[in-house]
Each structure stands twice: as C-alpha cells, then as structure tokens.
C-alpha cells in the first residue's frame, strides 16, 4: 500500500503515546539492579541475560555512564542485540534517576517494552551509587542490591535501605574475599540479620554460570507474578 | 533620495523587485521584469541575476525592501555583486533590509548573497522570508562578517523564515554583536567573526553531522527528510567556507 493510502487513524495509533499499563496488566517484570560502584552490577546483568536469553525476551536499561565500549561489552556478554539495550543519562544523579524522579528511566522502559512487544523481563541497572539508594516502586517490581567482598566486610552491618530493603541481596566476588581480608560468613550473617528473612545469595561472577542462582530467583519472581 | 554627504539627509526607503519566469525547457531563468529604486540596481548576467548597490547603503535609518518572485517552472539564480557594508550613518539609527521571496509550482530559487559586514556602531536587521509552493525547492545562503578587521562589530540581527505549502520549515532569528545577551559565549557564536547559514530544500538530508575544522564549527542539521539547515561559525570567511564545504555530502 503506498504511504498516502494508509488511513490517517493508523498514523494516530502508531505514534500516540502508549497508555500507561498498570503493573497487573503488563507482561514484563521489571527488575532493578543497584549497588555501589564496581560491585559487579554490569557483570551480573550480562550474566543474567546470557543465562536467560533463550527462555525469556529481555530488555536492558542501564544508567551507567555508558560508552560505546560498555555497549559492546554488554552486547558481547549478554548476546543481546543493540536494540534491546538503552542507556539513560542521569544528569550526574544516579540515585535521583531511580528513586526521586524516575521519568527518564520509566520513559526508556516503556519505549523498549512497546518496541519489542513480547518482553518478559526488563532489567534496570542503576549507576553506581551509595548504600542509601533504592529503586522507586513506580519504576521496578523487584530489586536486587549488589555488594562485593572487596568493598569491605562491614558494609552489611552498616545496613541502609539498599541492604535492608532490596528483595534480593547479592554478595559478589566471594572468590576474592580471602585476598582482601573479608569474612564472607560474617557478611552473610550480618546481612541476614538486617533483612527480615529476605534472601541473600553469595556469588562469584568470574564466569556467567556464577549467576545461576540469581537467575533462578529472577525466574521465580516472574512465575510468581504470572499466577 | 538621500545625498549622503548631507548630515540631514533623510534615510533611504529603497525598493526593488525581481520576477523570474521560465522561458521554456532550454532557458528556465529569464528576468521577466524588474523594478529598482536606488540603491538597488538589478541586472541579468548570463544565468545569474545580480543585485548591485548603486549607492552606499544601508546606513543607519535606511529601510530597504526587495521582492523576488520565481514563477511556475522557473529556476532563479540570484545574488549580489559585492559585500554589503553596514554603516551606522550620521544618526546611528537602526537600518533594515527585508527580502520577500515567493517560489511557484516546480520552481527553484537559488539566493546566494555576498557577505554582510557589520561595522561597529551600526544596528541592522536582515529579514528574509521564502514562501515555497509545495513542489518548489530552494537554496538560500546568508553570510555575515562580524566587524571589519580588528574592529568590533555592530549589532546585526538575521531573521530567516522559510515556509513550504504554508507550513514553516525553518524560523531562525539570531542577533550578533558585543552587547547582545550571552555575547562571547557558546549561546551566541563564541569568538567567531564569520557566520554562514545555508538552507537547502529539496535535497536528500540524510543524517546530521557536526565537524570541527580549523577553528570552525559546522553543523549539517536536517529539519525534514529533504530539508537541511547548515550552520557554520569560525574566525574568517575562507576558513568557514572550507569547513562548510567539508561537511557537504
């Protein structure tokens, strides 16, 4: 059909902003990945994508300061096509973008989900931030907070909203603990004390299979929301 | 009309008009008619129609208007003979030059003026409007030099509005000069002394491009699939022209 024969109404439908879909009506489960700089958020996102991409339709919104090398690295690690990964600029305020003013992230999430239609899992990776940063419930359904043993084994004891409230706490780089003098068991038990029974998973993401337990948790979250 | 030596002379309110018609497939650029009061002198020179200044204008207080009509099927290539030096005149009053162009069915306007040089103390406004038929195309090039060598410029305002089929394509209104808000910053043109703008309608706009070229910054900015605004700023005319040439497809 030549372009001028397309009914006007179709244009309106195609370009009209999508109605905001409530958490109950929408298909995709939105998972926030937060945590301090260098704790392994990007690696975890890459590993999750690699482990889950065959069974789930995944898109990624990252708030990291994003270079084309980062995009390449994530694409290679996750084997996700470029059009499924979007970087959002946070104006130097990574915690604002996931908590106080989620407009930019929500816009990117909705655009991606609309574009791909069949999305099962939307991963939102925050920029590296401090221990007080958590995701707004307006942006994600569940959130994962990533700490690492090299960041100091007193961090779980200090707590803060990320450690205490995240739906899943990941303590990463357990393979490095012995080199940096961190006590993994102490970290796990401090964390469990602060978390009211919510899960804590120790990981080593040297290879992607290290994220298998986290991936299983994510799949369980999706299954629980589909019931 | 003003005798410019007389400090009490009244300002020039000059008017000119150019009508270009198609003389058939082999000659699409015929000066159909023209009208020129001083300071305008309008001549056909081969394929081009040139506007020459027959008096020193504009100076402060002058109000000049030029109407250009390109009739159905015609291709008009219109320019100026020499740079226009804008002087403050005895009163330092504002001056203005307004060009109104209409371009008809399947017609094309090529309007490439020589640079306007803003001299310290002057206050000049150049307004150019182009009304294109939906099927018409154009290339409109404007160049300004901000001050003579080693001098500050005056105040110079450029207003460009291009419509096609009654819808606006480009509307840009930029004022240069040492006393303009933001002068010297990148909101304006920084420390650039020469500015070129070029609008192309009826080309394959493609992707936008920006380059930094020997102290010049140039942008190729598509505003529609077949419409581009090219902007270039830099230290002098040869550098900016080279930079603009480098960004063309």
């Amino acid at each position: 059909m030549p372009p001028h024969d397309i009914p006007h109404d179709n244009f309106l439908q195609d370009s009209a902003p999508p109605d905001r879909v409530g958490a109950t009506a929408r298909r995709a489960v939105r998972v926030g990945i937060g945590g301090p700089v260098g704790s392994g958020k990007t690696t975890l996102v890459g590993s999750l994508c690699a482990l889950l991409r065959d069974e789930l339709s995944i898109v990624v919104v990252t708030n990291d300061i994003f270079t084309s090398e980062d995009a390449d690295a994530l694409r290679n690690a996750a084997a996700l096509p470029t059009e499924r990964i979007v970087a959002v600029q946070t104006g130097c305020c990574p915690h604002t973008a996931i908590r106080d003013d989620i407009a930019a992230n929500l816009d990117a999430v909705e655009q991606l989900e609309t574009l791909h239609g069949d999305v099962d899992l939307t991963l939102v990776e925050s920029g590296g931030d401090n221990l007080t940063a958590i995701f707004s419930r307006g942006l994600v359904d569940v959130q994962v907070f990533v700490l690492d043993t090299a960041g100091g084994d007193d961090v779980p004891r200090k707590g803060g909203p990320g450690v205490a409230m995240a739906d899943l706490l990941v303590i990463n780089k357990v393979d490095l603990a012995q080199y940096v003098g961190s006590d993994v068991n102490q970290m796990l038990s401090d964390a469990r004390d602060r978390r009211d029974g919510r899960p804590v998973i120790p990981t080593s993401l040297v290879d992607q299979s290290g994220a298998r337990e986290v991936a299983e948790w994510v799949v369980a979250q999706i299954a629980a929301r589909r019931q | 009309m003003g005798r410019r030596s007389d400090c009490c002379a009244s300002p020039v309110k000059g008017h000119g008009s150019i009508v270009v018609a198609s003389g058939g497939p082999t000659c699409r650029s015929t000066l159909h008619s023209s009208y020129s009061e001083p300071p305008f002198s309008i001549r056909q020179c081969g394929e081009r129609i040139l506007v020459a200044a027959s008096a020193a204008a504009p100076v402060g207080g002058d109000a000049l208007t030029l109407d250009i009509a390109v009739l159905t099927g015609a291709h008009a290539n219109i320019g100026t003979v020499a740079s226009t030096i804008v002087l403050p005149g005895p009163t330092g009053a504002p001056s203005r030059m307004s060009t109104r162009c209409t371009v008809g069915v399947d017609a094309h306007l090529e309007w490439v003026g020589e640079p306007t040089v803003s001299v310290i103390g002057s206050d000049h406004t150049i307004t150019t409007t182009v009304d294109l038929d939906q099927s018409a195309t154009c290339r409109v090039v404007e160049e300004v030099s901000l001050g003579r060598s080693d001098e500050l410029s005056g105040r110079l305002r450029l207003v460009l509005r291009i419509e096609r089929g009654g819808r606006p394509l480009v509307h840009h209104d930029e004022t240069f000069g040492p006393n303009v808000a933001g002068s010297g910053s990148v909101v304006s043109v920084g420390d650039a002394r020469h500015v070129v703008s070029e609008v192309l309608v009826g080309v394959d706009a493609g992707q936008s491009r920006v380059t930094m070229f020997e102290g010049c910054r140039v942008g190729w900015l598509p505003v529609a699939d077949d419409v581009v605004m090219m902007l270039g700023v830099g230290p002098n005319r040869p550098a900016v022209r080279a930079a603009v040439a480098s960004i063309r497809p």
Binding site: A16, Q89 | V170, G182, S185, V233
Partner: protein, 218 residues
C-alpha cells in the same frame, strides 16, 4: 505550584540545557561565565520556550489542527535533530508525570498529538489545566531553564551553590522585564512568536547528542 518544584518527577534533572557541552569546551568555567551563558540562553531559547508555553496556556480546548500548527512552528525554531528529540522526550516525561495530577480538555488534546508534544507545549497545557495564566506559564518556563542551567553547572563544576543562587537571582530580575510580553505571546499568531536562537547552541547540541559517556540528555 507543584509544577515549579524541582522535585516534580518529570526528568528535568537529566537536562543541562547545553551546559555539559559548554563546560567540556571551556566556555563555562566559573560563576562569571555561567552568568553570561545563563543570560544568553534565557534571552534566546528561553524566550522561545516561554512564549510557546504562554501561548498554549491561553488555549482552553485546542483542536488537533491548532496543536499541529504549534508543533510545526516550534519544530521550525529548533534546528538540531538531537534538540528536537530531547524536547519531545522531556515533553513525554512531563506528560506522563503531570497526567497523574492534572487533567482537562487541553491535556487530553496534547496527549493525543500525532507526535510527542514538545516540552513547552506540555508545560503550557498543565498550567492551563491547573488554572494558571500565560504569565505564570512564561515565568515557569524561564524558571525551568534557569534551574536546569544552574544545577547542571553546580554538578559538573562543583561551583558554590550559594554564589550560583545569587547569579540565578540577578539574571532572574532581568528576565522579569520580559514578562510583560506574556500577554502578547498568549494572543499573537503562532508564526509571530519569538524565534531567537544561536548557531552554536544548535551545533553543539547536535554534537553533544552523540557523545560517548555523556551525563545529561541535552
């Protein structure tokens, strides 16, 4: 007025209004160069945005055709494709956030626009829906720009927020003089609204839009 609150969640904190690019090339370095930039930006793109915002705020129940003309007039004043995209993105974000608070025929009309409405258009619609005047709309629009410029400069250069606040207050007083135009902007034909801009504003914004590792959208 919630709309004027910097905490209103419409993504404004991701807009530097060109400051990130200006800082990178050394055009903004300190309080004085920030003041120069802010003054120029308010006088150019700031006036265009304020005028369109005031114009829309005076509309009660615009037809799609009226909004279509406003959209093409505003687009014609924004030469950089990156800037046009950013303006539509900020408009979309503001529409999403504001629709939870304000409603009315003008908001509905803007929401069903063929392409995502530009930010000043959405802002003007919410001012109208909230019962504000064109005057309020223009003031709000200027304030949004001034806040974007100054807070980005504080974050990127670590300038003293006290002295930056003084800069904003000083320049803001000058802007108040332009507010007399708000009534004119509300009633004049869209084609006659201000179109002030700067060549480097457009060129640098287009360049900034494809930087690797930028911190702000625009």
């Amino acid at each position: 007025m919630m709309l004027i609150d910097g905490r209103f969640p419409a993504g404004g904190h991701t807009n530097s209004a060109g400051v990130e690019a200006a800082v990178r090339i050394g055009d903004i370095r300190d309080d004085a160069t920030l003041e120069r930039y802010l003054r120029g930006r308010l006088a150019t793109t700031g006036r265009v945005d304020a005028a369109f915002c005031a114009h829309v705020a005076a509309l009660a129940n615009p037809t799609d055709a009226v909004l279509g003309v406003i959209d093409s007039e505003y687009s014609a004043r924004m030469l950089s494709p990156q800037l046009r995209d950013a303006s539509r993105r900020f408009g979309r974000q503001l529409l999403r956030a504001g629709s939870t608070v304000w409603s009315g025929p003008i908001v509905d009309a803007v929401a069903r626009s063929q392409s995502d409405a530009h930010q000043p258009v959405v802002l003007g619609a919410f001012v109208a829906a909230a019962g504000g005047t064109p005057d309020n709309a223009a003031a709000l629009s200027f304030h949004h720009l001034a806040a974007a410029v100054t807070s980005a400069a504080i974050r990127l250069l670590g300038l003293d927020p006290m002295t930056v606040a003084a800069v904003q207050a000083r320049v803001g007083c000058e802007v108040d003089q332009w507010m007399v135009d708000a009534e004119l902007w509300a009633t004049s034909p869209v084609a006659e609204l201000p179109a002030c801009g700067g060549s480097l504003t457009e060129i640098l914004a287009e360049d900034h839009g494809r930087w690797d590792a930028r911190l702000f959208v625009a």
